[in-house]
């Protein structure tokens, strides 16, 4: 049994849920989290993201304020919101689920699409029936 932890973009939650159903694992636990990733070092990627993020700002916001916020996201001094999914899966299903998650969450932004971790799980128990092990999933 494996635990799959995926940290993804907030606005990809629905695509993620759909992808999981299609992959045959409807069950999951999700939480709103804050986080930051590896520092982006490529100046071209940073410049591109900055331009795209600044373009999202509404007219009623001070441009200087927006720029300060965006800079905070890009230089790593500020945490940004993400969705953390926890999925329990049979060993054999893991590659398929990981593939499905990557397909559903990939964007053209080059950075910030998230990470997937696969951890071993020793046991699971279904509360209702007391079943243990693989039968509990």
């Amino acid at each position: 049994m494996k635990e799959i932890i995926a940290v993804i973009r907030m606005n990809k939650t629905n695509a993620m849920k759909r992808a999981l159903v299609e992959a045959g694992v409807a069950g999951f636990t999700a939480a709103k989290v804050l986080g930051r990733g590896k520092l982006v070092e490529d100046p071209a990627v940073i410049a591109e993201r900055k331009e795209r993020l600044l373009a999202l700002a509404g007219d009623e916001v001070e441009p200087a304020e927006t720029e300060q916020l965006v800079d905070g996201f890009l230089d790593g001094s500020r945490l940004f919101p993400r969705r953390l999914f926890t999925i329990m899966a049979y060993d054999g299903d893991v590659p398929r689920i990981v593939d499905a998650i990557m397909q559903a969450n990939r964007t053209t932004n080059k950075v910030g699409d998230g990470k997937i971790f696969v951890l071993p799980v020793l046991d699971a128990v279904r509360v209702r029936t007391g079943e243990a092990g693989d039968a509990a999933l």
């Binding site: 494996k2 932890i5 995926a6 940290v7 993804i8 939480a31 989290v33 804050l34 986080g35 930051r36 990733g37 590896k38 520092l39 790593g76 945490l79 993400r82 953390l84 893991v94 990981v98 998650i101 990557m102 969450n105 990939r106 964007t107 932004n109 080059k110 950075v111 910030g112 699409d113 998230g114 990470k115 997937i116 971790f117 696969v118 951890l119 071993p120």
Partner: protein, 108 residues
């Protein structure tokens, strides 16, 4: 590869994250959680508070970086030289695989 789960005081969260970044471990995920520890919560004037707010910091690190990361967290999360009840805990569990979604690359 290892998953470090550090439960720290919310007011210490920023300091811990800053120290980790300075030590070269920038990537982290933070969740606001509530919980209690071995002391069964805090008793103040007859009322027991056992859902104490904490920050849970998740980090995936290479095996050889574990000691560095744990030491950094412990040093930054302590509220005094001796430490105090409620400063938190650090748990380390194995990660078998990790993927970056944008590139599909395996590993951290």
């Amino acid at each position: 590869m290892l998953l470090i789960r550090a439960i720290v005081r919310p007011e210490k969260k920023d300091e811990v994250l800053a120290e980790l970044s300075r030590a070269g471990f920038h990537a982290a995920t933070v969740v606001d959680v509530v919980g209690r520890g071995k002391q069964k919560g805090i008793k103040i004037g007859g009322i027991v508070y056992d859902e104490i707010p904490k920050s849970l910091i998740l980090m995936a690190v290479r095996d050889e970086d574990k000691d560095d990361v744990v030491r950094t967290v412990l040093a930054a999360a302590k509220t005094s030289d001796k430490g105090a009840y409620g400063d938190g805990k650090v748990f380390v569990s194995p990660i078998e695989e990790a993927y970056t979604i944008s590139s599909g690359a395996k590993g951290l």
